[in-house]
Point group: D2
């Protein structure tokens, strides 16, 4: 990078050839031209790592055999060349050790979701963070959509009145049949050794829970869960449905599934309050519906009318030019890049209107997964949502 | 009625001026020109009854002060004039005594839903029916929609494979605020003396459950319920969410609400099987969606392509000419009129391809309501679906 | 009919077994219980007429061999039995002579669309009406939809500002292939001897034009037309597209087609003004969209919020219970029945807030068809919309 | 750029701070990580140019005062540093001189649409290209959408049968009022000196025409046009509607508007053939509808089922993860980057399955605009589509 290139310098762990989510992170990081990928430990195979680095136009000397090597060698580089943050896109069970090592080496971390393999690890990660002065971000992607942010700010401003009910759903169909041996995406998700205690709830249900808390501004306090492997022979759930209570007493229903044949990536949420209801569908993310009992529903569309500042700053195109998943993802990276630039500058940090989800969301996410598993195992209907010692 | 008028002769109990559902029944009965309203005990106020009868062009001598009088006097008329069946559209708590009296007087009964006030009454009604040779029909309206019938027959034909999951919802918003004293529709529904043990689940949730069983061909066997009055000061539920198990082990989620602000009459259902998923929305009833993992979804529209015989016979207009709620209702009346005409003619009865829902659906419906209430009261997560001695 | 039956008494010409639109008229007339079919000349075959009458529960003595006989014999009946109006549902070329004979015999007329076979006939019909004191109604069905009426009243109230552009479309696909010999609906429409100078524009395009004028309150003043038989071997158009100018200078585009494969009955209209735009689709008639440049679009739904009185009076069911084509049709019959009841009662007539379309719409409709044909034949781009001597 | 950075090197003319489309081009070019912006003449103000360059992390020595200077100095750089192609995103009237200068300096050109200010210029540009061995691409953005490409290949494969009718629309509402003096986007578009002979048809209508030809594989051969400034005081059209004939005799309607209040960026197209119809809407670009007369419509969704190779290669995310406008744009840049890499390598070039639109589309686009203006001025209905000497 030249002296004039003042982009935020990113490294990556994981994301080698054949992986899926790494490419999404890279595209998201590059859309706005403010982040440059400068190094990586893309694969446990150094050959793959080098090939990936070459395809990504990266100096082979900065394509490292291991993440440990990367953190060590990057830390030794002059500050103006050195990676500033690392994007962690490994399989789930490595998120924690990689993030921990990065933090201890003094690097900011942007982690793919879930933050860790277990809740215990998430708590441990917070303890690591408490001891080191670095930033931690988590790509709960769907909170990057402009209209999700708008919904949150409208709800916070009281446009729905008191929240009474939340219905959140994340349904897919692609795991409805036993996956073939070559389906890399499916096989690790269904392997408790690599995926953890839950497949469906850990992989996607947690997004719906995160969205419910993010948009409503409420916290889940109790739950009654029914997780189950529907397809014979599986050890962990491929479908799960949960009844909820939120901190203000509001009721909730959360539906998650990976065996609902014909569903693509059907994440949707409806939040009802005493004054109005709000509805959003990820598959058509540029529309938000506000509904009333006594007057016509409003179709809020990106680019039409006025928006709260964070939502307004999350849109790149004029009305009617659709944005999608990569742009939502990019909003999280843009938030994080701004956090990195403002790091140790209290005034600048204070001005940031939006930050990427962080360690608190990470802990709540892992706790949600484990609480769902615990509640499923329970005979009693309701269990309290706990933030530690769940399983 | 002239000698040439061979329409099926209907009487009505309830449906006086100021009531809502009676007018819907009358419109539904008249669309196809095969049923004629000949008498009524429309109101406990004889003045209202006469005024209603006059507005309906009925002989005032056949506008009776009480249903008891109606059954007695109609029974005494010559057979060719006499009412053949009675449509029962009273408040819920009168459904049973009126139906019982009608049956005992030898009249067929078409009852508004719910069949009775309690499950015990529904069981008692079945016992009455067992002793008398008359027909009994129940207006579970939504099973009258052509595409609901088509979905049932496609599922029965195996197009979805083995059913794995059912998500049924019936959400409204109109009871989100304490209703004013002049809201007759709201006040009786929230009064346990007139509505029974449940408002939301009894009024609308039971339709979603009926639809789930009707379309899937499965029976609910276990449930975990969360019924609650959300609006302060109410004695019975205005919202309820239920986790389900069906007879083949399939999972289910049922969402019902009358406090989901901005929802009109949002009854919708999705059924997933091992081969395909199917989706239907009552508010746009002329479209049925078949979804697949590996090929494009199909938009099945009334009037386009081929249909199973019952669905085909339930459509009145060509493609693109929407039919709605009244026509669905009319299909149940048409079924029942044909049952009445074919009564005691075994050959004709055997040829009927479709019948109105009857006493078995009535019992399952009342049982569903009471099981939901019992499951809500329970501390354990799952309760078995029972057909007697529930509460 | 008994002495207590004060329904408006209707006769019918056409609509024998095997016909389509007659059954629609009968269902529409019967939904609200205010009209009774008492007689008919249902078919040129007296056998069919009698069989139709029997199926409709009509006295065979009032099932007439010819419409001439019907008008003569009904006129001779006592007033309280006599047919009050006749519904004309014959093939198009008979609309004029039947209506003329009815009017001259003193009967009110409700005619299926188009009013006549030619514009000359429509003008002649008006002359007949000028000489006789009877009512004339025309079933331009789509103006019966509640939200079409609401749109008209909102536009009249200035909610769109000055109208600038109208885009109206009526597309179907069912004539995309040469119809088989047994397709009765198709064969007469494509036969100039029975359908007149136009198939597509006369059968359906004229509905779109009517809707454009009805909703906008404007009149078409100029047009540039491109009618054509797309399928080889046809003598008259199966597709037609027209550029328009309206009385205030607004621009218009009208698209009509019967060869647009996959289109069912896609009648839709958008009207744009200086303040807002409005959009309505017949296939989902219970939604009206109001659109703005600077604020969210509104989804106006039947039963939600407040409506102008005519629209409010055109809805039968609460929010979320869809109404359709038959109910829209029924609204025209209800209007006409009220006109019949109020006939010669100036005070009552003055109170009617809505009337069925009449002879003026009939003339403009026939003129539209002939002007389209004339404009298609012209080499110059724009021709003036004329109300006589068009072809 | 380091020696390992093998990205295609792009320069930009236009796109300084305050401009809109330049940022879109830059985002589109960067998503896939294969193109790097290395230099620019971003503004006629050198100050703006430098500030833009700084914000884009570009060496200030490569932020040039004029495009002439840029072409000269870049040409003098070592080949491995030198800009390989230039993205032209200036106001319309500069597209031609900039592109011409670039070509003559030996640089490939990727031009924003329209290619030139007049048809004559487009023809002249082709002559320049004929003399120089460089690549020329044009960002007719909407052809970059995966499902537009899929539709084209399905039509080419005969899935629609013979094409009979095309209905293409591009409607917006944002110019419905006289724009304020600070609306930079509006003021140049309505100034004939900067926008050319047409505003609405030149700015957006031409996209609809391009899409119609691209998807159908047909060419427009005749047209009848009605372009007009609807808002008083404008010199050039803000609305235009056109009747069309295509090379195989198919009919067409093209609707374009910038005064249709409430329309965002409503580009949509329907193509009908003898076997099926196809429909696509830019505002929900991840769905393509195939419609039939005799069987259910199919909802083709990105990521579900199988696709032709070019469409398959144009998707970045799995099913249900929406892609949008920037990704469509990026597909054109990706095509062009591949063309640049394969330049002078006949074997590699032959393997490219997709290329960005080029000079032929440029000429047809400019010809379409001028033919529409000419046809509007004509009194006769139909004018032939000409490729030169139009106005």
């Amino acid at each position: 990078m030249s002296e004039f290139n003042n982009k935020v310098r990113m490294g990556m762990v994981g994301g080698g050839q054949g992986a899926f989510i790494g490419a999404v992170h890279r595209a998201a990081a590059s859309i706005d031209g403010e982040i440059e990928l400068v190094c990586g430990a893309f694969s446990s195979s150094h050959e793959n790592c080098l090939a990936t680095g070459k395809a990504l136009h990266i100096n082979p000397e900065r394509c490292y055999a291991t993440y440990a090597e990367m953190f060590e060698k990057e830390a030794a580089l002059p500050e103006e060349q050195r990676m500033q943050f690392v994007s962690v896109v490994t399989p789930n069970h490595l998120h924690f050790p990689v993030a921990k090592a990065a933090i201890e080496a003094g690097f900011h971390v942007m982690s793919d979701k879930p933050a860790t393999f277990t809740l215990d690890e998430a708590i441990a990660l917070k303890e690591v963070l408490d001891k080191h002065d670095v930033l931690y971000g988590l790509t709960h992607t769907y909170t990057g959509y402009p209209l999700v942010r708008e919904a949150r700010d409208r709800i916070a401003a009281g446009e729905l009145g008191e929240i009474t009910k939340v219905v959140a759903e994340y349904s897919q169909g692609w795991l409805s049949e036993p996956p073939g041996p070559d389906n890399k995406q499916a096989s690790w998700r269904l392997d408790p050794k690599r995926a953890g205690v839950s497949c469906c709830m850990g992989d996607i249900g947690v997004h719906a829970a995160n969205l419910a808390e993010f948009m409503s501004g409420l916290e889940i306090t109790k739950l009654c869960a029914d997780l189950q492997p529907v397809v014979a022979g599986r050890e962990i759930d491929d479908d799960g449905n949960v009844l909820l209570r939120f901190s203000n007493g509001a009721k909730g229903v959360l539906i998650a599934s990976q065996i609902s044949v014909g569903e693509e990536n059907n994440l949707n949420i409806r939040i009802y309050g005493t004054k109005a209801g709000i509805e959003w569908h990820q598959q058509e993310p540029n529309t938000l519906i506000m509904k009333y009992n006594d007057k016509p529903a409003q179709l809020i569309r990106t680019g039409v009318g006025s928006f709260h500042p964070v939502a307004a700053g999350s849109m790149r195109t004029p009305a009617g030019h659709p944005e999608g998943y990569l742009e939502a993802f990019a909003n999280l990276y843009m938030d994080f890049a701004r956090q990195v630039r403002a790091f140790k500058d209290d005034e600048a940090s204070a001005k940031l209107s939006s930050k990427a989800p962080g360690i608190d969301e990470a802990i709540r996410g892992m706790a949600f997964i484990e609480n769902c598993v615990a509640a499923t195992r329970a005979d009693q209907k309701w269990v309290d949502f706990k933030l530690e010692n769940v399983l």
